[in-house]
Amino acid sequence: MAQPRVLVLRSPGTNCDLETVYAFERAGAVAERMHVRRVLESPGQLAGYQILCVPGGFSYGDDIAAGRILANQLRHHLFDHLRSFHAEGKLILGICNGFQVLLKSGLLLPVDPGGAIPATLTWNTLGRFEDRWVPLVTAGEKSPFFAGIDTMYLPVAHAEGRFVTRDARVFEQLATAGQLVLRYGARPPQGVELEPRTAYPDNPNGSSGDVAGLCDASGRVCGLMPHPERYIDPTQHPRWTRQPARAAGDGLRVFQNAVSYFA
């Protein structure tokens, strides 16, 4: 397949859709934005795409909790369609608000028999929204999105990004399974400790185990809080005027990996 087709899902309050489309296009994909109402009207359309991306923003204002309302729409009305999209070997990516949506919809981690999700993204320890750049390190090779990437430097911009599991056991299982694929900080994680090793501000929200991104058991559904689409052009780096010229930003690799997965 030459050019995979990407559906960038839009909803009321989505606001990183245009730059996410641009990032996928720069990586060689054909990307288009679609409102969740169009998908709900005819979910069969999903079949025409290889990659589904839920971009950043404030879906439905993040009212009640970040990503909750869009997550419930996916869970109540599109879950089966998305499971079969996934079962066909396709990719699903959630960035920032998209990560919150995927996690709270049950697409990233399976829902308990009681209907509860074993982990969440909640308020930053600091208790407020912050925009800052953070060092990131990958942990394992579970997810194709991070293939060949060891470290990245990307911005975060969120208020509710602290990754918390229901208990230590859930964390340990996810870590052991290699699903906690992206961590804040410079050093790769060792062991399965949920205590953060990286302090604020490099761990910007107090996430357990410094988790910045995770994937499902297959690795093909992935969510991350940092914004790779905000570091495509070298001039987006906060210190580009201090550094030797670069060809492209770290974030582009994530989108290129998604595209080359279908090469």
């Binding site: 009640i64 309302i69 419930n72 912050e130 918390v164 914004h227 001039t235 906060p238």
Partner: protein, 981 residues
Amino acid sequence: MLWEIDIHPRSSEDSRAATALIQAAAELGFARGPRVAAATGYLVQGSLDRDQVERIAGELLVDSVVERSVLGQAGEDVLTDPESAGCDPSAEWQVVHVLPKPGVMDPVAQSTLAAIADMNLQADAVRTLRKYWIADLSDDELATLCNKALANDAIEQVVLGPLEFDRLELGSPYQFELQTVPLASLDDDGLRRLSREGQLYLSLVEMQTIQNHFRELGRDPTDAELETIAQTWSEHCSHKTLAGRIAYRGPDGERRFENMLKETIFAATHEIRGQLGDDDWCVSVFADNAGIVRFDEHNNVVFKVETHNHPSALEPYGGANTGVGGVIRDPLGTGMGAKPICNTDVFCFAPPETPVHAVPTGALHPKRVMRGVVSGVRDYGNRMGIPTVNGAIYFDPRYLGNPLVYCGNVGLIPRDKSSKEPQPGDYIVALGGRTGRDGIHGATFSSAELTHESESLSGGAVQIGNAITEKMLLDVVLAARDQGLYHAITDCGAGGFSSAVGEMGEKIGAEVWLDRAPLKYEGLSYTEIWISEAQERMVLAVGPDQWEAFAALSASEGVEATVIGRFVPTGRLQLKYGEDQVADLSMAFLHDGRPPVVRDAVYAPPAAAPLKITAEAAANPTETLTKILGSLNVASKHWVIRQYDHEVQGGSVIKPLVGAQNDGPSDAAVVRPVLSSHRGIAVSCGMNPHYGDFDTYHMACSAVDEAVRNCVAVGADPDRIAILDNFCWGNTDRTETLGSLVRAALACHDLAVALGTPFISGKDSLNNEFRYVDADGQSRSISIPPSLLISALGQIDDVARAVTMDLKEVGNRLYIVGETFEELGGSHFAAVHRLDGGEVPKVDPARAKRTFAKLHAAMTEGLVRSCHDLSEGGLAVALAEMAFAGGLGAAVELTNVPHAALADQHEAAVLLFAESNTRFLCEVAPEHAARFEELLSDVPLGNLGEVTALQDLQVTHDGHPVIVVDLERLKAAWQAPLDWN
């Protein structure tokens, strides 16, 4: 049935709401801190059984990893039981509920109602609340806490103890009754009283003009007619004072203006455009909702800055929130609609450390104001997905009770979509949010003075925004624009439909069917519908042939579009409610019938007094520098900046914080609005209210110079900078106050023309005073200092040539560009040493133009590694900031600073701390030094020293050390004051 679902944090989680309240209590200075538990609650009304309510709690409202829920029917004991809240049952707990007042926007409730419907459950209404369990406070302390920290009476109600109601008030149906106002029989006192008590805020002459108009018609006006005239003639909408006749006397002679703004600010732009001839890059100035200038071969850029001062004084969060929402609708309502690409926000507050007892009744504490304003700007801008890239905060005790909140937005618009024309026969379409009672009398209120009674009198003028509604509106407008589905668009701002329809239909005529406007709840009268300032609405002129497609597009995005009337070629404004006509005004009377405001203005600058530097003030420059860095105006604003998303849309090139640790203060922001292009815009501002105490002419020149030099410092082309003026002044009924404004406007004209920097839009806010009764029963008033904000929009051909202010490399040379004068009047040096008098900084226009051009030429050749403008705190502060931002030292000798003759014996202090205009500090690599000096040969230039590998600042004067200090200490002093939790 009314259910309540409370969401509590699990015991493993911190309670943010409780922590915030404990902190607020500490700031109120109580003897001992209270114990607090907190929850958020949802009141859900509908025929729902307990199982269904549990489902709503479990699947929608609670995040079981970190939260737990308590639910019951409203009033059930379990909902107020301290043990439900995890409180120690042995203590005595008071339960406090805080609810939005009926009719106040509650976005979360709206979303929750929709999400419940999405679960196939039926709820009729939802309202959110906050609730607290509080122990260890006396009754008095609890009352103070509720009043000063917990709730804002303008929009919220507090219920102590259990909630007593069993249903949510949804409004009751409106019974139509035509209201006329008996005007004909009123004498002058009666007219004055009607103007004041009816919140029309019109002058006696204006009231008499209206009275005569209706006498000629042989009838009394309806309430809707009177309100329409008051809105249209308000200061806020018509700028009648500054665009009126003014007889001015000042040190610069006598002038008679027919239209002061037109003959100063607009005239400057007109002269510049005339000089540019075919190279004119202005597109639309002072005509539309925002100014428009050329950007590239496909697009223009649009810029507007508004103020939202009075609403922010009463309800800081809501006022600032809707200030941002409102200014975004300006570019969106300019031409056929511009895409918002970045925000700039500037605030003025009283010092946050003002003692609680020093805050007069009716005013909020400045720290609470600042927290609320910053949160309001953050939540609106971030949710809209518009990066907030630039701003400033100024502190002065005179902003107590009357803070200033300037909100600005830049938009991008295709060149062929930059103008509009409604057509006769077009439908008048209301798009976006529904109409409610919010913001009634906002336009007339913002033209009046604030008093300690404003809170109760004008509570309805306070609005709460819903950013997501506006984001949805934005998405529809841009899609409809590109599909060509309407002829004209404007924002529904101050004055609501009244202003929007009145302005758009001015040249045609309009008929409006008020009963068709979609309402948030029942019970609004036709007049309330007409003048409501409910947020997130736009008005469009849609051709009958376009309507079907327009309606379908709006519906597909879930945005409400409603035909509420038609533009008809009658030259009249006719309002109907059902079959009844409720207003019939001639457009000519409405727009041209207002009697001209005629004012006298006098200005005499305070007598000049020399500033004598005391031995004590000169003794320790290191200490002085540290103090200035730690003063509120200079100190780091990172606590604010980091709360704003300054990178969404992906075009960020120069961020507000730059340098080795991303924490140095940038002079201006640079953004690429088109991701596939490297052409950029630069956004900056200039303001210095303290200089106005000396001479508003030089204050205005300094503000223009500062805005332009900030832009030039990051690499913007000085021949392509457009500026905006925002005058916030005290009560201009006083001839001296108006005189100080006219003098500033004259300065704006003179310097804009000399620099070739056109004003493209502006806005004024007058009557910024706070009146109150002090403890002794004396009536007092605080007037803000003259506060002129100049905002600049620059352009950069290739952003890869942009320059940041952080030092880059050891061994590079440091040059000062521009001349230093003995200008310490109004300076931070004078402030920290409590010295009065002195010369306020002035601008040499010809030299400023040359300096900007030559420095830009050097930047274009890539000769400048870093550049910082010299402003508050002068050379010393600029040098310190560049050094600690870059994490590199600097060694500098002051004798090489080009300067005029200095009278004061303490030369080093003058050279370090004078705030003379048009100066920069530049870092240049040794191999480029010769070329740099050659390019700047006809500009004052001094080679001061070099960048060092040491982590300190070393300044000598004539070889004698004057400053030796670690960068770490300077940075800590700079970061400490506003490093809030």
